[in-house]
């Protein structure tokens, strides 16, 4: 099994004004090992999405390098499945055609890709919705299709960019639990971005807290709330346990501190 190595990676963009440089990420070091569920959390503008784009290969680093196993990442590829916030499914295809789209691109024979896609759809609980069109599904179901699709090429890693941000609270909890079950079954590395502290704590086996300007990792925590859930199956009990709440408040104060600092410093107000 391969690991993802982010080695001393910096990203700078040209800013709005001429000659200005925006440091989106500054000297990031991160190793994600097989079976890791890494959640990135942080105030807006802290470079979470940039970090995910780097791993996905949509962006290249200004400095440093990213490796998956011993291969350098220099573009997107089917060894890293990406789940987006929304609008990434193909509305002209039905559910199973979406789920097998990646395999079709690889030239996998039809019968074989049907079988794989059906397996993935079963994994996300959509076995009865193969023929539905995407626009006939609820937001939560659409996101399940997104997960099944990302799994289709059997990637080493799942990259998830706020996949639940557009879902309602109840659906969100269901999909969180589903995702943990999928993670346990497939044992894939997952890199997951969220704005929700509770979601981060619940899902992560490792939580990285990022801070903006320049984007960097300020705190890292090893967590086991997800394993507790997988053992007991009782999400509410995990989320209302004393140590969960204590952890939540601790992380919140870190992030609020960043947000306040961001609002207080005048240099960042460019509308």
């Amino acid at each position: 099994m391969e690991s993802m190595y982010v080695k001393d990676v910096s990203v700078t963009f040209p800013g709005r004004r001429k000659g200005e440089q925006v440091h989106a990420l500054d000297a990031i070091n991160l190793t994600i090992s097989p079976g890791d569920f890494v959640v990135a959390l942080g105030a807006s503008g802290c470079g979470k999405t940039t970090l995910l784009s780097l791993m996905a290969g949509f962006t290249s680093p200004s400095k440093g390098e990213l490796l998956l196993g011993d291969m350098q990442i220099d573009g997107p590829g089917c060894d890293r499945g990406v789940v987006f916030q929304k609008h990434a499914l193909l509305p002209w295809l039905n559910v199973i055609d979406n789920a097998e789209f990646g395999l079709k691109l690889q030239g996998v024979p039809r019968a074989q890709r049907r079988e794989i896609a059906a397996g993935n759809l079963k994994l996300v609980g959509l076995q009865d919705f193969h023929q539905h069109m995407i626009y006939q599904l609820s937001g939560g179901m659409q996101q399940r299709v997104g997960i099944a699709r990302a799994l289709s090429c059997d990637p080493a890693m799942l990259l998830m960019d706020e996949p639940m941000a557009a879902l309602d609270a109840l659906t969100r909890e269901t999909i969180q639990e589903l995702l943990l079950h999928v993670w346990k079954k497939t044992n894939k590395m997952i890199f997951f971005i969220t704005h929700s502290v509770e979601e981060a704590l619940f899902l992560a086996s490792r939580l990285i807290v990022m801070s903006p300007r320049p984007g960097r990792i300020t705190h890292q925590y090893e967590l086991d709330f997800n394993r507790r859930f997988l053992e007991t199956g009782d999400a509410r009990a995990v989320k209302s346990s004393a140590d969960f709440i204590e952890m939540r408040e601790c992380i919140l104060s870190i992030i609020y501190g960043d947000e306040k600092a961001a609002q207080a410093s005048p240099e960042v107000i460019h509308v």
Binding site: G77, C78, F84, H87, L90, L105, I134, A150
Partner: protein
């Protein structure tokens, strides 16, 4: 500590309107046509929701009625506006006896073949070129200036040039209509390419798609709804250009028929011709809408 006490659940018959249900509840306002049950949240939806076929039918009936009344009651002279019966008689006459050496069927077939010939040519050229403009900056750089330059020109302005260059034959007529359809169709296809979301493209790339696969499996499909809109606009422009194309050295065609009849002040033939053009244009648009619903059912839903 606050006490949490569950409130009793709603019982049928409890609460609700103070009005007794035995009396009909008075309604305010007048409703045109019956209001159908709406989905929750739709009853006060966006202005303009709901079907309009019945209203359109009434409009058509009223327009015909006004025409009928105005001509039969002698408000307007037949020279300016002939009565519906006269126009219908003319329709029968031209269908059987012909006008200007061709029957109505011949006129219609000639015009249809010109418009649809030009339309098909435009579809097989403008759509690929428009898509190419969307996906390649070179193609955009090359095609953008000529298309944007000639697009707002009225076809009548460059008709003389086309005649000088290509003569007065069938080719010039089809070319004029083709040019009129080409620009809006190419622009629609190009705009359609834009309607693909970056997430869809990124998703395809991260599933190992090549650039060619992205163009054919993602961008082309995403552009389809706008291409259909472009086709509908294009064919409409084609019909409006028909009369201009048939102005010069034609011996048949609906546009020619109208122009020729106008010279003899045969306003009944003019109106009959106009109705024929409108009928075919509208019928084809209905067909296109049907095909659109069948081929791009996701339009407007994502």
């Amino acid at each position: 500590m606050s006490s949490l006490k569950a409130l009793p659940a709603d019982k049928p018959g409890s609460g609700g309107s103070p009005m007794s249900t035995t009396h009909p509840i008075p309604r305010r306002g007048v409703r045109l046509f019956a209001k159908k049950p709406a989905k929750p949240g739709d009853a006060f939806g966006a202005p303009g929701q709901g079907g309009s076929v019945a209203i359109s039918a009434v409009t058509v009936v009223i327009l015909l009625g006004v025409w009928f009344a105005a001509t039969n009651l002698g408000w307007i002279k037949p020279l300016f506006l002939p009565s519906p019966q006269l126009v219908f008689d003319k329709f029968i006459y031209v269908s059987t006896e012909g006008f200007a050496n061709s029957t109505l069927l011949q006129h219609t077939m000639v015009s249809l073949s010109r418009v649809f010939g030009a339309f098909l040519l435009a579809c097989v050229t403008a759509i690929p070129i428009g898509v190419l403009m969307g996906v390649s900056r070179f193609a955009r750089g090359i095609f953008d200036p000529p298309i944007e330059f000639y697009r707002p020109l009225p076809p009548l302005a460059y008709l003389p040039l086309i005649i000088i260059w290509f003569g007065i034959g069938e080719f010039s007529k089809v070319l004029l209509i083709y040019l009129a359809i080409f620009a809006p169709l190419a622009i629609a296809a190009r705009a359609g390419v834009r309607s693909v979301s970056m997430e869809q493209i990124h998703a395809a790339y991260s599933m190992g798609a090549s650039r060619t696969q992205i163009v054919f499996y993602v961008i082309l499909k995403a552009a389809l709804p706008e291409i259909f809109t472009g086709m509908r606009i294009g064919i409409g422009v084609g019909w409006t250009t028909l009369v201009a194309a048939e102005m010069v050295a034609s011996t048949s065609g609906l546009g020619f028929m109208v122009l020729n009849a106008a010279e003899f002040l045969a306003s009944d033939v003019v109106i009959m011709g106009i109705i024929m053009i409108g009928f075919f244009a509208f019928s084809f648009d209905l067909l296109m809408r049907y095909v659109e619903r069948a081929l791009v059912p996701w339009k407007g839903k994502v």
